[in-house]
Symmetry: C2
Subunit: 332 residues, 2 copies
DNA sequence: CTGTTAGCGCCTTCAG
DNA sequence: CTGAAGGCGCTAACAG
């Protein structure tokens, strides 16, 4: 078996209590004793048994991260942001994905008990199907990009303002017939982006919304693009709720020899790496996903440090990135 | 405090031992008693405290994953493969990255003690700087893409054979002056790919190797591309040790109006998603990274299940993907 | 089949 | 400042 606190105690001629105190940096230990204990611990390559420590101290130094999935650019970036902060704070990460399955999500959440001090949770289902409804998390948590829920801190991408800004940009660059390729019906961001598009159009008094269905993946964007080309009167701009659909749409336009931006303008949302590589470069809204993860974890750690601190709901601003796919402004 | 096994025991009128047995699916429990226990546990929303369980059972149901980084396509794919198998096997994942810093790696490894049953470790440093040298992991582990070490199971991408195959392909398509953009000097894959390039050239008796430095990122590929264009006699093909560098190189060629593959052929390694989107499509070696992660975890689980099973070293085959960047074969 | 009883390794009062 | 002792919640013999 591995070496325990007892071994260190024996070797250093002190009690386990003293070893514990010395190692945990408590003040009430004589300097020379502390010195000796640290040396012995180091020599023996002692490393405290986590389960034992957390059983008695009731803290795990671990944060649970429960996500819909782990695959792809988005989650990779998110994890990077979370990881950087976790490392800085000396926290470990227990990662779990539930593959969009609410039952699995429940299981994942339950399995976190006694293993983590707090939770970072992404649950982008709209309220109707909310698997969190009434679910007692039983520990401090921050909701990631999932909309606000009563009693839980939340940090969201400001999809609504982003979509308004993009719609405004399209209007400002002289476009009037702006079609929107929507995201999945049950997704929070998709809702917000659609809402932003609608509201901005209404505010500007710029005609009726024109909405085509999509589900955030490339194929649906491609299909939507084809559909739009078949319209008697084509749109002069297309705003896709995310970049992947915008790219699919671009592909459809290319196939039909419809030029972007000459014949039709195109805009996306997310600023994925591909957006700058395609031709023409895609105008889009930049979302700093790593910052989303990092800030969420910071918020969680703040609550862990002070459970009395208020439960907050924040929104992460997004930034318009103008590339070639929308042409240049004609008028403002 | 949260509800414990004692609460369930009291409520079900049995001892804690019986509750434990019933919940863990042991056979020696009367059907009706088991039924009652399960009901009570469910009603009370009981969920075992992990730390306590693992302290007494000496098993954590958790696998430690220690990687150089979490950022980017490669690690995202790797995690996807690992996650799928972990989920299938009911294991949790404790993830840690050490940012290429050997000290942090040591710390991460040490911190895994008492928290995980086994380790998946990626340590792509060449032997000289090997932070693992003499390090007793103290538990079953599988090395990922880090080369073989005595006494530890390992699973590698077959970079060597892949590089040979690519070099062979370039020769077979009629190229003679093949330059190679190398990866970081201290990286295992980079070494293997360079070695494969050299050996194949030597075997074919096809002239001297022509090696340009790089470090796996796009910028270094771009610099290498410019350097190659300045040569008195340009190469007729460039083989980059990974796709990111190949893309950087392609960018440099585009800027200089050098056509691929008409003026110069280009090949990469990894088959990242971008490889198929650029123009011309990049000829590359496909590496199934998710499979790498999945198989590594399976190997680890096998050893966990049977510690007597032999320590193996496997190599994951890679596959040549021919796109437009190398032209078509002239002769074989 | 079921209950009793030791720990697992560590932290934390409580006395010295 | 230090040691002894009692848990933390659960599992695993060992008796019934």
């Amino acid at each position: 078996m591995s070496i325990t606190i007892k071994d260190v105690a024996r070797e250093a001629n002190v009690s386990v209590a003293t070893v514990s105190r010395a190692l945990n940096g408590h003040e009430n230990v004589a300097p020379d004793v502390r010195q000796r204990v640290l040396e012995v611990a180091d020599r023996l390559q002692y490393s405290p048994h986590h389960a034992a420590r957390s059983l008695s101290s009731r803290r795990t130094q671990t944060i649970g991260v429960v996500l819909p999935d782990l695959h792809g650019e988005f989650f990779s970036e998110l994890m990077r942001g979370i990881d950087a902060v976790a490392r800085e704070a000396g926290r470990h990460l227990l990662v779990s994905s539930y593959h969009g399955n609410p039952d699995e999500q429940g299981a994942a959440l339950r399995a976190m008990r006694g293993r983590v001090d707090g939770l970072l949770l992404m649950s982008p289902f709209v309220a109707d199907a909310d698997p969190l409804a009434g679910q007692a998390l039983g520990m401090p948590a921050v909701l990631l990009n999932s909309g606000a829920r009563a009693g839980i801190a939340a940090l969201d991408i400001d999809s609504y303002q982003g979509a308004r800004a993009m719609t405004r940009h399209l209007l400002a660059t002289g476009h009037r017939r702006i079609a929107f390729i929507a995201g999945p019906d049950d997704n929070f961001d998709a809702h917000e982006r659609l809402r932003g598009y609608r509201d901005e159009l209404a505010t500007a008094g710029a005609g009726m919304p024109w909405i085509v269905e999509g589900d955030f993946d490339e194929a649906s964007g491609h299909a939507a693009g084809r559909l739009l080309l078949e319209a008697r009167e084509r749109p002069d701009a297309v705003f896709a709720a995310n970049d992947m659909m915008a790219l699919g749409c671009l592909f459809a336009f290319n196939q039909a020899d419809v030029r972007v931006p000459a014949h039709i303008a195109l805009a996306g949302f997310d600023d994925i790496p591909l957006a700058r590589y395609v031709h023409p470069g895609l105008t889009t809204m930049r979302v700093d996903i790593a910052a989303l993860g990092g800030r969420a974890l910071r918020a969680l750690l703040a609550r862990l440090a002070d459970p009395e601190s208020p439960i907050t709901t924040e929104r992460l601003a997004v930034e318009l990135v103008v590339r070639e796919s929308c042409g240049t402004p004609r008028a403002v």
